[in-house]
Amino acid sequence: MFNSIALSRFLQYIDFSKVQQLFIYDPSDQLYFSTSFFLFFFLALLFFYRMFSKSKNLKIYTIIFFSLFFYYKNSGYFFLLLFVSTFINFYFGSWIHKSKSSGIKKLLFVSVLVIDLGSLIYFKYTNFFIQIINGFTSGNIQLLNILLPVGISFYTFKAMSYVIEIFIETMEPTNSLRDFVLYMFFFPNILAGPIDRAVAFLPQIEGDMTPTKEDIGRAVFLIMSGLFKKAVIADYIGLNFVDRVFQVPLRFTGVENLLASYAYTIQIYCDFSGYTDMALGIASLLGFKLMDNFNIPFIATSIADYWRRWHISLSTWLLDYLFKPLQMSFRRMRIYGSALAIFITFLLVGFWHGANWTFVVFGLFHSTYLAVSLLTQKFRKAFWDKLHLSGTKFLKVFQILITFHLVLITAIIFRSDSLTTARNVFHQIFRYFHGAVFFQWITGYTQVFVFILIGYVLHFIPKSVDNKIKNMITASPIYVQALLLALMIIVVVQVESAQLQPVIYFNF
């Protein structure tokens, strides 16, 4: 009796309309990894996952169900598009594999590529193209009211990797629609990657999908490091410094613009690699190993090296499925063929990031860097040989610094909302530097400065140290691991001064 009274009193305090709201799509209240509702969501998932540990089928459906809810919470009714894309790619994959005639195979392959790329282009670029046409013809075509489905670039590329590998016969299609749905819907990587390959993901479903002790230790490490990088470092520097400068660069001196550029470069690294760490950690707790996306990118000694270390799942995707085929078909043009292939690939890297001239110019810069570096490779080697500098530490440090600053230039363009903003940033840096302001800045922005430094220090930590920490966490008892994670969550809550920032890469 007492219990039922207590329960009814308790229930009176709960505002059910608010609870209901939690489960309905609301563009202003999305389900990111670093939100408290996500913690609840994920604990509920782990509870069912554990409860169904004897039945793999139920485990798979649990992830599918939670993934669908996760995607719905973040994109509303666009989950229907995800359904359509999943079914189309699954069936086309199977038809491509089954068809005997190479002509039909090709026709099916081209059709599915047209569907995949067509929907990507429609949702991402229609208005951009209308604006360009209006610009050229001084016309006045109405822009369409198109919303961008979150994560479409990521899941479309995942789907394409499946049909491409089937077409070139480096993998066989899966017979299980359920498994393919899991691959496509898998919530840890659906919004911002990593763009995992079907060929690496699908076989993991064949395994027992149970995390080992090492997986759990690795997950705790990755989630902690991801939370810290994303919710502490990146969000703090972004909100308190970078956003202000890039909003009106002309209001700040050159030195502040330059510092904001250094800050943004580490912000985007911490934001994106932090998000990826969380994705990898969450997947690890479900017994899945996702592809790594970053490998200390700012110690790259050339731009080519940088792209082997930055957003690896995208750069290897483009390398395997676009650059290599282009390079093969242009091979009669020898080195110029490769340069042309680079140019096309990186123009598309720019476009992939979004419909804005800043991204196109970002792509053009990277393609120019790479093409020039390829064409001058022999000359530069001879030059360093002549100076007896080849293979020296000095040259290595010099190359790292040059590469980093070439990347920094593109980061300015990438962050700017228009080419005019980017031009203003460069203008302030080169024409209105006022170096002495640096000391005022340090006193005014001490905390930002410290966070930028911590960001860079974290970035430069060698993988071997990471692994040592991972092993230490793995070796410690589970309650210590839980405590560590709880401590990190408290730190995040303490530092989070304002609203959560969505991951920069959600927009792509």
Binding site: I168, T170, P325, Q327, R334, S338
Partner: protein, 78 residues
């Protein structure tokens, strides 16, 4: 088994003195065989054997053993 002739073509193209090739060896394990040089290696092989690969055939090749098989199958066709 990777033939000595194929090994030599690749070593010459990459300007390497020696390297132990196995069937399972992949391009990224060989010093200098990066995405830029890849096309030069493929063209050196085509030229030396006087064969011509199709783009998709090369994309399928995952390791040295498969490259050897591709070369053998091309030689049989000729």
């Amino acid at each position: 088994m990777v033939s000595d002739r194929l090994k030599k073509i690749i070593l010459d193209e990459l300007k390497l003195d020696s390297f132990e090739f196995h069937d399972e060896t992949t391009a990224n394990q060989v010093p200098g065989w990066d995405s830029f040089n890849h096309i030069n290696v493929i063209m050196a092989v085509e030229k030396n054997y006087n064969i011509r690969f199709k783009g998709i055939e090369v994309l399928k090749v995952k390791n040295m053993g498969e490259l050897q098989k591709l070369v053998d199958s091309k030689l049989q066709q000729n």
